[in-house]
């Protein structure tokens, strides 16, 4: 079987990219041929591991571009994609973290069945994160509430973005199976008009080392002589660092918080807040740590904190922490509720409840035996539900089904499918 992967980022970046590289390795180990289409960026270099095509761009800045530039440049991109598809003739196209409707259209015109990862609500939310202007969670489906709540303003850039969201959303109903990562994400897809038969729930996975090895690593790295808290991820608002930092002064125990992050957000938004809250001596930030270093931090941490304040579609951080025997305190939102069992593998707190977050951190810091028990429970949960072996079986079954049924689905696009390569 040959799968063509279209991805906007083809380098270690966030959880979605980590999953992508895990999946590519898994597929290749099991005899699936992968072909990559990624943007031509300095950081998206060829790996030499598989066939790779680099095109000028995949994500297009629609809100900043006039209609002419949008049409002209994306028309060129569609022609390039058409040629690649004609040459490669994949059985399935897999779209990863890809939001350009013209890319979608080029893939649809090929008639090849598609599967698409849904890592966030961008298919049906013009703000990307399903947050209202005051940054509370949005309960509404895609529609007039986007206007009445002020998420889309009657300005040129907002309307351009909205137009592309409508276009992208319409296309996503055609000849595509959506890979949904969590039950809440599934419910929100149904709320937004997707049919159950188009959705496939495949939770994310993480590689898992044998328990003995993980216990040794935990013993080796875990004796830091201080209470170590860990946050991993973007420092952007929806990931909840503001919430966590505002809760930290309420924590009774002494602690050191390590923040592993990347990008400009930290310097611009978080560093001033750390100073303001008087946490400078208790917070240490590391930028652009690689996956290996991050694994060491997971082993060394006493508690991993996932304070997200949006509908997390899954959040890989949690199961990564569990795979290193570390318990998690997380917010009760989105896919987090699937992997975090309150009182068994960690604690769940309501979003923006600073007192509860501080209390639960203290509960775990006070009781080393509880941390150990929760960490072990977490490891077992990953072993049962989130290993790469389980993921591969589900994904491969989906590819087989899509490749088998895909052609019969093209009746939904009679005019377009006839022009298939």
């Amino acid at each position: 079987m040959k799968v063509l992967h279209v991805c906007s980022f083809y380098r270690p970046l966030g959880g979605a990219e980590k999953l992508l590289f895990n999946v590519l390795d898994l597929l290749e180990q099991n005899g699936v041929e992968n072909v990559i289409v990624a943007p031509e960026l300095g950081s998206n270099g060829p790996t030499g591991l598989r066939k790779e095509y680099f095109v000028e761009f995949l994500e297009f800045p629609f809100s900043r571009s006039a209609l002419y530039a949008t049409l002209f440049r994306n028309w060129g991109l569609m022609k390039v994609l058409r040629d690649i598809l004609k040459l490669e003739r994949p059985d399935v196209i897999h779209l990863h973290n890809q939001q350009n409707p013209f890319v979608y259209l080029a893939c649809l015109l090929s008639g090849v069945p598609m599967v698409r990862n849904v890592h966030d609500p961008r298919l049906y939310c013009p703000t990307n994160w399903r947050l209202l202007p005051d940054k509370s969670l949005c309960p509404h489906a895609f529609g007039r509430a986007c206007l009445s709540n002020g998420c889309v303003k009657p300005t040129l850039p907002d309307t351009r973005q909205l137009l592309m969201t409508i276009f992208n959303r319409r296309l996503s109903f055609m000849n595509t199976t959506l890979i949904i990562e969590s039950q809440e994400s599934y419910a929100m897809a149904l709320q937004n008009g997707y049919r159950a038969e188009q959705l496939c729930l495949i939770p994310n996975c993480t590689p898992l080392l044998p328990l003995q090895k993980e216990m040794e690593a935990k013993a080796r790295h875990g004796n830091t002589g201080q209470n170590t808290l860990l946050f991993v991820g973007r420092a952007s608002y929806e990931k909840g660092l503001h919430f966590l930092l505002n809760a930290l002064p309420k924590v009774r125990n002494d602690f050191k918080l390590f923040i592993l992050t990347a990008g400009d957000y930290y310097q611009q938004q978080i560093a001033p807040l750390v100073q303001k809250l008087g946490l400078a001596s208790r917070v240490e930030v590391r930028f652009d740590t690689n996956y290996q270093e991050t694994a060491t931090f997971y082993s060394a941490a006493d508690v991993v904190i996932v304070p997200s304040i949006w509908f997390e579609t899954f959040c890989l951080i949690g199961i990564e922490a569990y795979s290193h025997l570390t318990p998690v305190v997380a917010t009760r939102t989105g896919g987090i509720k699937d992997w975090c069992v309150d009182g068994e593998t960690g604690f769940l707190v309501d979003i923006f409840d600073e007192d509860a977050l501080a209390r639960r951190i203290d509960d775990l810091l006070d009781d080393p035996s509880m941390r150990k028990e929760f960490g072990m429970n977490g490891y077992r949960r990953v072993q049962e539900l989130y290993t790469d072996k389980i993921y591969f079986q589900r994904l491969h079954a989906l590819y087989e089904k899509a490749a088998h049924n895909g052609k019969s689905h093209s009746y939904r696009l009679p005019g377009l499918a006839r022009r298939a390569v």
């Binding site: 943007p39 031509e40 960026l41 300095g42 950081s43 000028e56 761009f57 297009f60 800045p61 900043r64 571009s65 006039a66 209609l67 002419y68 530039a69 049409l71 002209f72 440049r73 005051d134 940054k135 509370s136 969670l137 309960p139 509404h140 489906a141 895609f142 529609g143 007039r144 509430a145 986007c146 206007l147 889309v152 009657p154 040129l156 850039p157 309307t159 351009r160 909205l162 137009l163 409508i166 709320q191 608002y237 503001h242 919430f243 505002n246 990008g263 400009d264 310097q267 611009q268 560093a271 807040l273 304040i309 509908f311 009760r332 939102t333 769940l348 309501d350 979003i351 923006f352 409840d353």
Partner: protein, 183 residues
């Protein structure tokens, strides 16, 4: 496309440099290091968004734009001031090596007088700036599309207004309002 690639930064008498902050920090940092090495005595200024709380811009004259993106309208407030500075070199920094999405920034480059205008690409490359690399199409075509865009917009909003946002979805424990953290 950007055609004139430079092997290294030009040797010229450069005393005043203006950077357009239009890429992520690692790229800006690399650009500044290159410029410092080539023009050690030059003074720097920066134009763009989110310039505060950033050590990279310490000691520079800051022209901070408050809107989300750097656009020609954002330049208006500083235009006279920038002209009076008589910059020798203006640099725009890209997030990729393609020109896609930088048309507005290129318009700003066009408006700022300087003897040398350069582009710093993502994969550690320097190019000579030219506006045609960033804009495409003849004037009538662009004009036609712009008119079409304005005509289309009421229909986009009408479509959204006609579309119901029901049913609502909000599990318990997630309905708390945001407390208004500083952003």
């Amino acid at each position: 496309m950007l055609k004139v690639k430079l092997a290294r930064l030009p040797e010229a008498s450069v005393q005043r440099i203006l950077i357009l902050r239009t890429a992520r920090m690692p790229q800006i940092q690399w650009t500044l290091e290159q410029l410092h090495a080539q023009y050690p005595s030059a003074g720097y200024a920066v134009l763009g968004t989110q310039l505060q709380n950033n050590v990279l811009f310490d000691g520079m004259r800051k022209f901070e734009v408050q809107s989300t993106w750097l656009k020609p309208a954002g330049l208006r407030k500083f235009e006279r001031d920038i002209r009076n500075q008589h910059f020798d070199l203006v640099v725009m920094v890209l997030n990729g090596d393609g020109a896609t999405g930088y048309e507005d920034v290129s318009r700003i480059m066009k408006k700022i007088p300087a003897q040398l205008k350069l582009v710093s690409g993502y994969s550690r490359r320097w190019y000579l700036w030219n506006h045609s690399a960033f804009s495409s199409g003849s004037f009538p075509r662009r004009w036609f599309c712009t008119v079409l865009e304005y005509l289309l917009f009421p229909f986009v909003h009408a479509y959204m207004f006609a579309k119901s946002s029901k049913p609502a979805y909000m599990p318990s424990g997630q309905e708390r309002r945001a407390p208004g953290y500083e952003r």
